[in-house]
């Protein structure tokens, strides 16, 4: 018995390794997804090690050097300096931290809530309580997320936390809808019927039988959304409803620099470019993940 158990475990491990290898093959078929992965990895690396990789870490805070204001891009300051004489490259890299935290925290809140609502609504589709839950979801969906977030952020104090709350409120319905649709389509599949008829608890059916089949699309959407959540966060901080100075935020930096356009273009163009790069990276990665999870042979 012992020996056969070991043999089974070995074959299980090799089957798992084979599955990973095949997934990696599908992912790496597209050079763009590899590029996306590399860029996302670099962004995360830079955000974590910002104090080490940036040339002037002290510029991230309330630093003023009136001797060095409005320097155009040079070797010393690759992205130039702003009206306070701070290095824009340094401030951009530090702003990655806030942007990523925004994305991660928002998704960490939004995905479980949206998924649970969608699973519940989908599994009990046709029942009155499911209908109520899904209509409420529709109401939230009907309001453009940025407008809703703006309204909520304006009501509350303009802080990073509050702008996250605002984005969360406008974002969960998208996950609820996605999961709802997928749940409705597998709810009547024989594999769900089989465990129902065996007498499995309904919550267990929802979370352990149905949910694992949705993980791929959810993961893909999360990756794609990472960029969009960061963009929404930047939009909020652009109008002054996000991270407050002196902490660097990409949106705030773009809006600060906008006053000096077009002469001192680098002050807002480089932070804006960083936003573009972040969104692009997550989108490329998301496409790669989608490719990996959906394409057969």
């Amino acid at each position: 018995m012992r020996d056969s158990t070991v043999a089974i475990d070995i074959s299980a491990r090799s089957a798992y390794a084979e599955r990973l290898k095949r997934a990696w093959y599908r992912f790496s078929r597209s050079k763009l997804s590899l590029l996306g992965l590399l860029m996302v990895a670099s962004i995360i690396f830079i955000a974590i090690f910002a104090p080490v990789v940036t040339p002037y870490p002290e510029h991230a805070g309330a630093f003023v050097d009136f001797g060095n204001t409005m320097h155009p891009p040079s070797l010393e300051h690759p992205f130039g300096t702003d009206a306070m004489g701070r290095d824009i490259l340094t401030r951009c890299f530090f702003a990655f931290r806030g942007a990523l935290i925004m994305g991660i925290v928002v998704l960490a809140i939004v995905v479980p809530i949206g998924t649970a609502v969608g699973l519940f609504g989908g599994y009990f589709e046709g029942k009155w309580f499911s209908t109520i839950v899904m209509r409420v979801t529709d109401v939230f969906l009907a309001i453009p997320p940025l407008v809703l977030a703006l309204a909520i952020a304006a009501l509350l104090k303009p802080t990073l936390t509050n702008s996250m709350i605002a984005v969360c409120i406008s974002w969960w319905p998208w996950y609820a809808r996605l999961v709802y649709g997928m749940t409705v389509s597998v709810r009547n599949e024989p594999f769900v019927k089989a465990v129902e008829l065996t007498g499995m608890n309904r919550f267990k059916i929802m979370f352990s039988e149905i949910l694992p089949n949705h993980l791929g699309p959810i993961l893909t959407k999360m990756t794609l959304d990472m960029g969009w959540v960061i963009l929404t966060g930047a939009s909020l901080s652009f109008v002054g409803l996000g991270e407050q100075p002196p902490t660097p935020a990409l949106g705030t930096m773009v809006s600060d620099g906008a006053k000096y356009l077009p002469t001192y273009w680098w002050i807002s163009v480089f932070p804006a470019l960083m936003i573009v790069i972040i969104i692009l990276s997550f989108n490329l990665l998301g496409d790669g993940i989608r490719e990996m999870l959906t394409s057969g042979e």
Binding site: R22, Y25, R26, E297
Partner: protein
């Protein structure tokens, strides 16, 4: 006229490229269909019977590689692949019937509109297209052809839709019909009607029929001659009667034995094992790993065709001594290219 070849497939080899490598699916298929002859191409899931049909029609999937072969339709070469050149023309006067009639009819056009298109483009007649369409529907024994002409596919039952597909195939005025599992989705009583219809129409209009099916019974009731396929090769071919009364190849025998009988003889063993991995198919006979008679030779050398009886060819070394090598094997070398 009757003995002319309507369709000839010679040494057809098709591979598919996938992530893990190259699937060597068709391994030298040879078959001939005479004018007005009904042949059955029988085999289990994954034996390459549908790939064969697709290669003949020129509708192989994007990752398919045609590595050799020649297809002749009505005396004209429509497909030829050799080391030096490639010929590809569209086959004329060939119509196809698919397994799923629902998927092969466009849901947003009426039956009449779809059929008239076929009449105009395939049969090249624009005047009286409507009449030709209604006539074809009548030929397919659809009650009230005038009404059905104005119906949408969803208004018809599955059996009627398949009749419409048959009518549509007829409207193209073919002399060869390729049918891919035309009755698999139908109930047994409807299957019986559709097969009888198909058989009668082929007889009346002297159409050649290639019927691809997994059901030995269906092939027996419809076809004059039967080719049995296994793992991308043809293992045995003969007249329907011979195949069923005197099967020679161990695979054909196993397959026949596995069928439950209406007369009730219990359930047989089936055939042990499963079809080989096309990535790495057996060197010699592809059935060897599952064959109880297999010898060393079977694993190393591909068997040719041996004539076990008049017109009954078997690709198995067990019958090598019977009558020597059959003439058909000579097809496998591309003499004309």
């Amino acid at each position: 006229m009757k003995n002319e070849e309507a369709l000839a497939v010679q040494n057809l080899r098709v591979n598919y490229k996938i992530y893990r490598g190259i699937l060597k699916v068709l391994d030298g298929i040879n078959l001939t269909v005479k004018r007005g002859e009904k042949i059955g191409l029988v085999g289990e899931t994954g034996c390459g019977k549908t790939t064969t049909l697709k290669a003949i029609m020129g509708i192989l999937a994007g990752n398919a590689i045609l590595s050799s072969g020649r297809v002749t339709v009505n005396g004209k070469v429509v497909l030829q692949r050799s080391a030096h050149h490639m010929v590809r023309k569209s086959a004329k006067r060939v119509a196809m019937i698919f397994q799923d009639p629902t998927a092969s009819l466009n849901p947003v056009f009426t039956i009449g509109e779809q059929m008239e298109l076929v009449v105009r483009y395939a049969a090249n007649r624009s005047s009286s297209a409507r009449e030709a369409a209604v006539n074809a529907l009548r030929l397919a024994q659809l009650p009230d052809a005038e009404r059905i002409h104005t119906n949408f596919p969803f208004q018809l039952s599955g059996g009627m839709r398949q009749r419409v597909c048959i009518a549509m195939a007829l409207a193209a005025e073919p002399n060869i019909i390729l049918a891919d599992e035309p009755t698999t989705n139908l109930d047994v009583t409807i299957q019986d009607q559709v097969l009888k219809l198909l058989k009668r129409l082929c007889d009346e209009q002297e159409l050649a029929l290639v019927l691809v099916t997994h059901s030995l019974g269906v092939a027996r009731e419809t076809c004059d001659r039967i080719y049995v396929m296994y793992a991308g090769t043809i293992v045995e071919y003969a007249s329907s009667q011979n195949i069923f009364e005197n099967p020679y190849h161990p695979y054909t025998r196993g397959l026949l034995a596995a069928l439950p009988r209406l007369t009730g003889e219990g359930i047989a063993e089936g055939i042990e094992g499963r079809i080989p991995d096309y990535l790495n198919p057996p060197q010699g006979c592809r059935f060897a790993p599952r064959c109880e008679h297999a010898t060393e030779k079977c694993f190393s050398t591909k068997p040719g065709f041996y004539e076990a009886e008049d017109g009954h060819f078997v690709s198995c070394f067990l019958y090598e001594t019977e009558r020597g090598v059959a003439s058909d094997v000579s097809h496998s070398s591309d003499t004309e290219s």
